[in-house]
C-alpha cells in the first residue's frame, strides 16, 4: 500500500476494523448478583419478586431516567440484547467489525446514581459481570472497565484491581450528568490510576439520564431530540474545557482520553474556540505549555458515531481534516443502540478524499494504538 494510494472502494477491503463503542445492554438485574458486600446483603433480597425489590418497595430503578420516549422505548427501533459473548459476536458480525471495545449500557447512567457508595458498588459489580460473563482473553473483543466518578478514591482502587486483566483495555467514565465536571481536582486520583495502569480514559454521556444534573435549561426541554442534539456534544465540551483548564493533559502526560458518541463537527469548532479564547485569557489555564488544541491533537481521541452529514462527503471530509481526524478519529458503531452507524457509513463519506492509509488509521490502527490491541 503506497502512501498516497486511494484504492479502497468497499468496507470489505479495510484490513482491520475496530469498533470503539460497542455497547453491552446490561440491566439492573444483570449486575445485581455481582454486587459485593455490603450491598449484596442489602439488595439481593429474596422476595420472590424482581431482584432488588421487596414487596411495596420502590427500588425497581436505581439509575435515574428522564422518561423520554426514545425510538427504543416505543419499539420503533428494535435494539438487540447484548448480554452474552454470543450476543456480542452476533452483533459484531452484523456490523462487519473484526474487533470491538465493549462499553456499558445501563451503566452509562452510573454517574447519576445519587447514592455515591452504591454507585461505586455498581461499578464493581459491572466489572465483575464483565470479566465473569463476557470477556475472554481468546476473543476479539475487549472491555472498558467502568468506574463511578462519585467516589474517585474507590474508582482508583477499582482500576488498580483490574489493571492486570488482559482483556481490560480502557477505563470508562460514564460522564452523563456528572457534576462537578470531569476536570475538577477531585477526579485526579482516577486519572493518576489510569495513567499508572496504562489505560486510556473513555468518556461517554447518556442523554436518557442527564435528568436534573445538567444545567437548568435541560428541564425546559420536553422531547428527547431536544436533549440529544445539543447536550451530547455540549456536555463533552463541558468536561473537555475543564480538563484543559485544569491542565490534566500536563499533569498526566502519558494519559489519553477517548471522547465518545457526540458527533464530529463540534471538534474543530471547540479546538478553535478554545485556542481563540486562550489567547486572551491564558491565565485561566496556567499549566498549559502548548497551544490548547495541540493537547487535543496529542492526547485526545474521538469516536465517530453518530456521524452527522454522512450523506454530504464534502462537509464530512472537511470537518475530519480540520481536527487531524486521520490520526485522532476512531471508528465506532454504537451498536446496538437505535442510532448506530453501520461500518461503511463513515467510509462512504471519507473515500472521495482520504487515502488508504488514512482510512486504515480511522478504522483500526488508531484504535490499536490507543487501546494497545
Amino acid at each position: 500500500m503506497g502512501e498516497n494510494d486511494r484504492t479502497i472502494t468497499h468496507i470489505g477491503e479495510v484490513e482491520r476494523i475496530v469498533d470503539t463503542d460497542f455497547h453491552l445492554t446490561e440491566q439492573q438485574e444483570t449486575i445485581l448478583p455481582y454486587l459485593e458486600e455490603p450491598f449484596d446483603k442489602v439488595l439481593n433480597v429474596d422476595s420472590g419478586r424482581v431482584r432488588g425489590q421487596v414487596d411495596g418497595g420502590y427500588l425497581g430503578q436505581l439509575y435515574p431516567s428522564a422518561g423520554h420516549l426514545t425510538p427504543t422505548d416505543t419499539g420503533k427501533a428494535e435494539s438487540d440484547d447484548i448480554r452474552t459473548p454470543e450476543d456480542v459476536e452476533r452483533g459484531m458480525d452484523l456490523m462487519g467489525v473484526d474487533e470491538a471495545i465493549l462499553t456499558p449500557g445501563l451503566n452509562l447512567r452510573l454517574g447519576l446514581v445519587h447514592h455515591d457508595e452504591l454507585a461505586a458498588a455498581f461499578a464493581t459489580a459491572y466489572n465483575n459481570w464483565l470479566l465473569d460473563a463476557i470477556l475472554d482473553a481468546d476473543r476479539s473483543f475487549y472491555g472498558a472497565m467502568t468506574v463511578a466518578p462519585q467516589e474517585p478514591a474507590k474508582a482508583a482502587e477499582e482500576i488498580e484491581r483490574r489493571a492486570g486483566e488482559k482483556s481490560i483495555v480502557a477505563v470508562q467514565i460514564p460522564g452523563g450528568g456528572v457534576t462537578p465536571p470531569l476536570g475538577r481536582e477531585r477526579y485526579f486520583p482516577i486519572y493518576e490510576a489510569a495513567e499508572r495502569a496504562g489505560l486510556p480514559v473513555m468518556i461517554h454521556n447518556a442523554a436518557t439520564g442527564i435528568v436534573g444534573n445538567y444545567p437548568l435549561q435541560w428541564r425546559g426541554t420536553k422531547r428527547y431530540i431536544d436533549v440529544h442534539v445539543p447536550y451530547h456534544p455540549a456536555e463533552q465540551m463541558w468536561h473537555l474545557t475543564t480538563l484543559l483548564t485544569a491542565g490534566v493533559p500536563v499533569r498526566f502526560p502519558d494519559l489519553t482520553f477517548v471522547m465518545q458518541e457526540c458527533g464530529i463537527g463540534w471538534i474543530p469548532y471547540f479546538m478553535r474556540r478554545y485556542d481563540n479564547e486562550y489567547a486572551k485569557k491564558s491565565e485561566d489555564a496556567p499549566l498549559l505549555e502548548k497551544t490548547p488544541s495541540e493537547y487535543l491533537d496529542d492526547q485526545f481521541y474521538f469516536t465517530s458515531q453518530p456521524t452527522e452529514g454522512a450523506n454530504d462527503p464534502e462537509y464530512l471530509c472537511a470537518v475530519v481534516r480540520l481536527f487531524n481526524g486521520a490520526q485522532n478519529l476512531l471508528f465506532s458503531s454504537d451498536y446496538p443502540h437505535y442510532d448506530f452507524d453501520y461500518s461503511d457509513t463513515l467510509l462512504k463519506a471519507l473515500r472521495p478524499e482520504f487515502t488508504d492509509e488514512e482510512i486504515e488509521n480511522v478504522y483500526g490502527r488508531n484504535a490499536a494504538d490507543v487501546f494497545a490491541l
Binding site: 416505543t74 419499539g75 420503533k76 427501533a77 428494535e78 437505535y338 448506530f340 452507524d341 453501520y342
Partner: protein, 121 residues
C-alpha cells in the same frame, strides 16, 4: 411501476389477513406485502438509510399536534418502522415520514386475480 413488467404470484389472499404482512423474494429482491383494510401494498424490504430490513419492524401511526396544540395519534398502522434505527415509511407511498420528498423505499403494484395475490416487478 412498469405496467409491462410481469405479475409474480405471492400467496393466496386468505393467507394474508387484514393487518398482516408477508415477506417474499421476487427476482432476487426481498419484497414485503401488507394487507391494510384489505388493500395490498408492496414495498422493498430494504431501508434507504443504512440497508436495514425496512419492512420488518412494528407498524405505527404518528404523533402530531392538532390546531389547538393537543397531541393526537393519527394514521394508525400506516407506517412501518425499520427495526435498525426506527426510520418510518408510509406503506402506501414508501415515503419517509421525516423526509417524504428526499427518501422513499421502492413500492410495487399489487393485483388480486381469482383469490391470488400478485406483485408486478
Amino acid at each position: 411501476m412498469e405496467p409491462n413488467e410481469p405479475l409474480h404470484y405471492v400467496a393466496e389472499t386468505d393467507e394474508l389477513e387484514e393487518g398482516g404482512r408477508l415477506i417474499t423474494s421476487i427476482r432476487g429482491r426481498e419484497i414485503a406485502v401488507f394487507n391494510r383494510e384489505n388493500e395490498y401494498y408492496a414495498l422493498a424490504n430494504y431501508c434507504v438509510h443504512q440497508g436495514g430490513p425496512a419492512c420488518e419492524g412494528r407498524l405505527s401511526g404518528r404523533l402530531t399536534e392538532d390546531e389547538r396544540g393537543e397531541l393526537v395519534y393519527e394514521d394508525d398502522d400506516e407506517f412501518v418502522c425499520c427495526p435498525w434505527h426506527g426510520w418510518e415509511f408510509n406503506i402506501e407511498t414508501g415515503r419517509s415520514l421525516a423526509h417524504p420528498d428526499r427518501y422513499r423505499v421502492p413500492t410495487y403494484e399489487t393485483a388480486v386475480r381469482d383469490g391470488k395475490l400478485y406483485v408486478r416487478l
